[in-house]
Symmetry: C2
Subunit: 228 residues, 2 copies
């Protein structure tokens, strides 16, 4: 797979060609976030460079960013892996997520308009469809998209970025959960959230998100405890 260096697309509209290091970053990030690279799996610079047809300098930069994001772990030697969650890490993630994401929901509820609720509902409908079809990758992507759309509405970019980064830490494990339990018993807290948003109920939105966070993390915890 060769990355193109495009200054204009075929329609003649000048598309800002992203730097290669940015493309590699996005690519690798999404692979990790949606569990395509499993926890524990090693990531090599040369392997990635070869796979993406890029030089090693951009790959190197992408990997450093992802290490800083917590999406990759630099093991004292020169080895880089996708980190494996343990109970202690998960417990900390729950605390931080509850604090930040509930506040983001609260703030988003302050800025919603009807068109926004519609858009979220659309995503949620697609999400339900993915669940009933057992489409795990689709579920993971839409769930992420749902939350990020919500947080973008909060008009608190720094908080939203923090939340976003946290998803990189448990994303890989979420995939493992779905691989083990399927998509059937994924209760959906999003309906509560949508009605709270439609009513402009800040606290209701905060509670709904908190519930969603707890529930998701509990599923991961269940898998972790089995593995012990």
């Amino acid at each position: 797979m060769k990355l193109v260096k495009n200054t204009a697309d075929q329609a003649g509209v000048p598309i800002r060609s992203l730097p290669v290091h940015e493309q590699v970053y996005q690519d690798l990030r999404s692979r990790i976030l949606f569990g395509e690279t499993a926890p524990g799996q090693a990531v090599t610079i040369q392997g990635l460079a070869d796979a993406l047809g890029a030089g090693m300098t951009p790959v190197r930069e992408a990997i450093r960013r992802l290490i800083s994001d917590g999406a990759l772990l630099f093991q004292g030697n020169r080895r880089v892996i996708v980190p494996t969650l343990d109970i202690a890490a998960l417990e900390q993630l729950v605390f931080i997520r509850k604090s930040i994401e509930s506040e983001l929901a609260r703030r988003a509820a302050r800025h919603v308009g009807p068109e926004f609720v519609d858009r979220l509902s659309e995503i949620d409908a697609a999400l339900d469809a993915a669940i009933s079809q057992g489409d795990v990758p689709g579920y993971l992507r839409l769930n992420y998209q749902f939350h990020m759309a919500l947080y973008a509405q909060a008009k608190a970019p720094i908080m939203a970025e923090q939340a976003d980064r946290l998803w990189l830490r448990f994303g890989p494990s979420l995939r493992v959960v779905c691989g083990r339990f399927g998509t059937q018993n994924l209760p959906d807290r999003h309906k509560d959230l949508l009605s709270a948003l439609a009513a402009g109920d800040e606290e209701g939105a905060a509670v709904a998100v908190t519930q969603d966070v707890i529930q998701g993390m509990e599923q991961i915890a269940a898998v972790l405890e089995i593995r012990e």
Copy 2:
């Protein structure tokens, strides 16, 4: 300034030579954190490479990491600067810091022993000395050291890392505050914290840290409002 490539120090003890990109990262990080590079100031890859006597690849990696940390800002073109805080950013930082750092204090209080309180007290004494001598860099470093030592004791590495990263965002502005107001009117909330810790009072520790956070952020806010 040339970075040494040491496999052993002069005493013969094998010292693990850090990779150049790591050295550059540490160096630049501490410069930003303690305000040696002012907010708004541009950071160039080649400039840094020349200044540190390093190649551009390691410098590049260090800069990417710091961008991911929020310590540097990548401006759409290819320019990188130390970001300038605004009120909205500061408000978000206050919220996150209160949530995370108060919890870290709570957890640290659970794990303190007398020797730890002693060590913190030592740092605090040095901090007082720096304040009374008007030693701004010393104050900034010791204050950071005080908080990080506390958070390390909480046995919650992920939360501590999040907190650490946030300091990179307001550190540069703290320096500006001290440059404007000096070190004299820096009230010190650390005494409350120390006695709470010594008493094993989790909530007391949490409150003390929250107060410390609020007070520090208010000082920055005051400067921001002047600048408007």
